[in-house]
Amino acid sequence: MAFDYEKYLRMDKIPHLWCPGCGIGVVLKAMLRAMENVNWERNDTAFVSGIGCTSRAPGYIDCNTLHTTHGRGLTFATGIKMAQPDKNLVIFSGDGDATAIGGNHFIHACRRNIDMTLIVVNNNIYGMTGGQHSPTTPIGFKASTTIYGNVDPSFDICLLARAAGATYVARSTVNKGRTLEQYIQRGFENKGFSVIEAVSNCHTQFGRKNNMSDPISSRKWIEDREIPLAKARDMKAEDLKNMVITGEFITEKSDLERWENYNRAEKEYTEAYSDIIKKVKKK
């Protein structure tokens, strides 16, 4: 049976403002299916975002939705979760929103490991503002502020999240909606801070400047560079340059976790805080 997206969407807000063929819609659909898989109630779920094309996603979802300031979605979400720890929190962010202006909030949200899920749509560009380069624009590529080719090195969002302490980190691409759905679901199920990076196409702003101005060629460019994590482990560094390594970078069961998270708290933040309340609360 076809999935009933309309159950979760504000249909009166459709058509959406995204360009035809933009990858953000794929991510939104994967997220809605994941939400259904974990049986989240719409009333108990809040979607928070910053500013950018990606950050318009919450507006289409029939839940409690909050479109905040550029890069700061995580900070608002942290306040909501501290106030209502039983509720479900999901944050949508673009690559610029999450790792440039919001970079500090990003690493601290990972470190705190509050039970929320951040979905970063990485289209390698500032889509909404007209195609300026972002912290994930590959070296040599063109943006409206790197017309001679980008010289500004990139962040690897998943490695950053992993190093900063997120307890579920995974990356897939908009070519693989089912995998995205699965990763997002695992993020929802992880009792801690989860980061799912969805590598996406912005043919309008990034593709156009780099000889792939339609969605198909933009997505093909992503597909051609995709290398699964297991395979990447055996590859030489120079062969991985500008590639998109996909897979689960950290999971509950990850063998890396034992030593990477040596200083990780035993308990999720809001649970640990509830324990404090129980201990000191006036009778």
Binding site: T68, F76, G79, M82, A83, Y273, K279, K281
Partner: protein, 377 residues
């Protein structure tokens, strides 16, 4: 009856009043001279089932209190000059999205890192114009510890009544001062809560002006599932660029405070009956002014004081009245004339405005003010 007298510091009273007003969330970032407020909140909030979080910076702290308030908890953040600057973008968001929160700014010398530990009243204009765009402002300036408690509660009440962020401006001296005071009986406190919708979710709009200039506010997770944005929006909460709607909404935002000025404006008149010289003061400098006035009266100088408990909105009518009544208005401030600049505009040559501006971090001494009073008599 046993009196409720105890030693408190100003910072402690902000925290105590906040909790008594129903505050159940604090998000902050340490900065002198405001950190004690965070420390008290960290200690006291869990005792009443509230939550405290130290964020990674003041931008994050401001975001967190807005989030917590939308999730139904009255929220407080506290900071000082540099941190107040960082909060400005999200402060504007709270005005735009009409989210009640209280921001306590314990003023220190600026600009920049300035004088971290010294007394100043440097952020009077930042409180009014710090964030971009037009917006209503309520800012309170307590001068006594009893008033810190009383006005902190009022700050929460105003934020809830008008759905706006309210700014509590404390002088460093007031935050750090510690004396024995008697707190009002808790049962007699007037505590206001945001007006809740009375309609079912299908009939609810988060910015519905059918109920007046302050729309009823549903909290997140109460079944209303609405949208909030900092973009100009229509009554549904979704973005609009319709010029008429944007214009009407901006006007409504300003009206929330302007139409209620009469209820919000709050000042003390001290020995004003026969005064032909007035000292116009607020915060800690008003305490020096009071001593100076008492001493001047002994010299038969007819001087009084108008002391602002609420600095924004200003009591314009009172100022205009003064301008045509007294021969001089003396404005002592721990800044380079942020308030006297404004008073001067009202005066428009009808009376003399005399400034006393100290920015060295040392309190204005009563004798400084008395000297000026003697000069203008």
């Amino acid at each position: 009856m046993k009196k409720n007298i105890k030693f408190y510091s100003g910072a402690e009273l902000v925290a105590k009043a906040a909790i008594d007003a129903g505050c159940r969330f604090f998000g902050g970032y340490p900065i002198t001279p405001s950190s004690e407020i965070a420390e008290h909140m960290a200690k006291e909030l869990p005792k009443v089932g509230g939550t405290f979080i130290q964020m990674e910076d003041e931008i994050a702290a401001m975001g967190s209190v807005i989030g917590a308030s939308l999730a139904g908890k009255k929220s407080l953040t506290a900071t000082s000059g540099p941190g107040f600057s960082l909060k400005q973008e999200n402060l504007g968001y709270a005005y735009m999205a009409e989210v009640p929160v209280v921001i306590c700014n314990v003023m220190r010398g600026g600009p920049s890192t300035g004088l971290p530990t010294a007394l100043a009243q440097a952020d009077i204009m930042q409180a009014k114009w710090g964030t971009h765009g037009d917006h209503p402002v309520i800012a309170l300036t307590p001068a006594y510890l009893e008033e810190v408690y009383e006005l902190t509660i009022k700050a929460f009440n105003y934020s809830e009544i008008y759905r706006i962020p309210v700014i509590l401006l404390l002088d460093e001296l007031i935050a750090h001062l510690s004396t024995a005071i008697e707190l009002p009986d808790k049962d007699l406190l007037v505590i206001k809560d945001r007006r809740k919708p009375t309609v079912t979710p299908d009939k609810y709009f988060p910015y519905d002006t059918a109920y007046g200039d302050v729309p009823p506010m549903a909290n997140f997770f109460e079944g209303y599932r609405y949208h909030v944005t900092g973009l100009s929006h229509n009554k549904t909460g979704f973005p609009t660029t319709d010029p008429d709607l944007v214009q009407a909404d901006q006007e409504r935002h300003l009206r929330k405070v302007n139409a209620n000025k009469g209820k919000i404006i709050d000042f003390e008149s001290y020995k004003m009956k026969d005064a032909d010289i007035v000292v116009f003061a607020y915060g800690s400098t008003s305490r020096a002014a009071r001593v100076a006035i008492d001493n001047a009266r002994k010299l038969d100088i007819k001087v009084g004081m108008v002391r602002l408990r609420v600095i924004w909105p200003l009591p314009e009518a009172e100022i205009l009245k003064l301008c045509s009544k007294v021969k001089a208005i003396i404005v002592p401030e721990m800044n380079m004339g942020q308030l006297s600049n404004v008073i001067e505009k009202y005066a428009a040559d009808r009376t003399k405005i005399v400034r006393i501006n100290h920015v060295g971090g040392v309190p204005i001494h009563p004798s400084n003010i008395l000297d000026v009073i003697k000069e203008v008599r």
